[in-house]
Symmetry: C2
Amino acid sequence: MSGVGVTEAPRRRAARPVDKFDERRAQLAESALQTLGTLGYARTSLREIANNSPFSHGVVHYYFQDKLELVVYSVRYYKARCVTRYDGVVADSTSAAELVDRFADRLAETIRDEAPMHRLWYDLRTQSMFEASLREAVTQIDATLQDMIWRVVSRYAELAGRTPSLPPAVAYGMLDGLFQQALLAYGDEPEQTLAALAAQVHDVMPMFLGGPAQAAAGARPTV
Amino acid sequence: MSGVGVTEAPRRRAARPVDKFDERRAQLAESALQTLGTLGYARTSLREIANNSPFSHGVVHYYFQDKLELVVYSVRYYKARCVTRYDGVVADSTSAAELVDRFADRLAETIRDEAPMHRLWYDLRTQSMFEASLREAVTQIDATLQDMIWRVVSRYAELAGRTPSLPPAVAYGMLDGLFQQALLAYGDEPEQTLAALAAQVHDVMPMFLGGPAQAAAGARPTV
DNA sequence: TCCCGATCTGGACAGTCGTCAAGAATTCTC
DNA sequence: GAGAATTCTTGACGACTGTCCAGATCGGGA
């Protein structure tokens, strides 16, 4: 099972040494992401994906069992690289204030640079409430996003010498709500929206801080 | 222009006194909501809506210009009554603690009772990022939801003798994030999810409180 | 060079969709 | 009850969808 896909499927052969097969899957995923990000899940057809790729529409079923497998593979493919987005912020910041600054900047930056991908993610997550076949992948990706946010929040508390005042799910839910709100408004008032988001993050992050951290090693938040 | 629809359209005649016309539109909206809530926006066809109604599929275009108008009308129709959901909580609570209790209960209750409607709303809001024709209606509804939440938060602060520490958009964004997270998880673990949501609201609401309220004119006596 | 499997193409299929219009059925008016 | 305006049904149209498949094309081993 290669790094990205959990539900491998067709795999006609296993001959080629370094797996040209997975390479093509990734290539198709790139094209699919471009189309999905622009049109959304419902309005994206396999023919349209193929049009934005070097291939014809028939080839999709050579590498993927059906449309759903391609879409899930593509989103996993994207999210796999983007969950590390804030790891640099976590690793390099030397003070709580610096971490907040860089975290807020990075949030705004990713809306500016990858808005279509984020729209796609929220689209897919919403569709998973109606389409059971999407649930598993969505749940798993959502958990990795929550972990990503929690790395930021817990490091933030650590740098501030405090304990996080809220469990991971709450911190993630709240920040995700603000992020989604910004993504929605971004289409109308781009720069103003991003500035507002950064300011909101500065306002909100201190709320995640609880009492002074225990001096003991590895102390967990009380919650 | 009647209470619900902003974009009236076909209106073949203006003869009937009490407007049988709007009555049928509302009736179709009810059927549409049932189907949309179950299947989601993308998977709902006009024929399916008609199947869940006393009418045949052709009648839709007699009362609505196209599918989009029916959908937007339906969601407005639903949201128009549901934005008053917490007004009783705001009006009747006599202490900050009571308000939080009742607010949290009501949030959980509406997920239990109207989950499909909430799924539909998030679906439509997400689709509006891809389909410009949905933007206007979504933006407007979102604003009324933010107002609804703000009535709760500001009254809460008032009862606590404090000032709200965050602007309406932030309070709404954060609570909406938690609500959406609960809605997503509700399918798997209903009761556990609702209990967690209520607990989260209890944790989070105090964060919305800032410094002591000014004793300025019109301020209600503190508890 | 030839061959054979891997890869890819383009068309076909069966189904669904939104929309429309002709006419039946219903309801209202006089 | 007759006539007219309405409401509603039914069937059709063209466009689009995911999927499949027969055959063209490609590329590497003999």
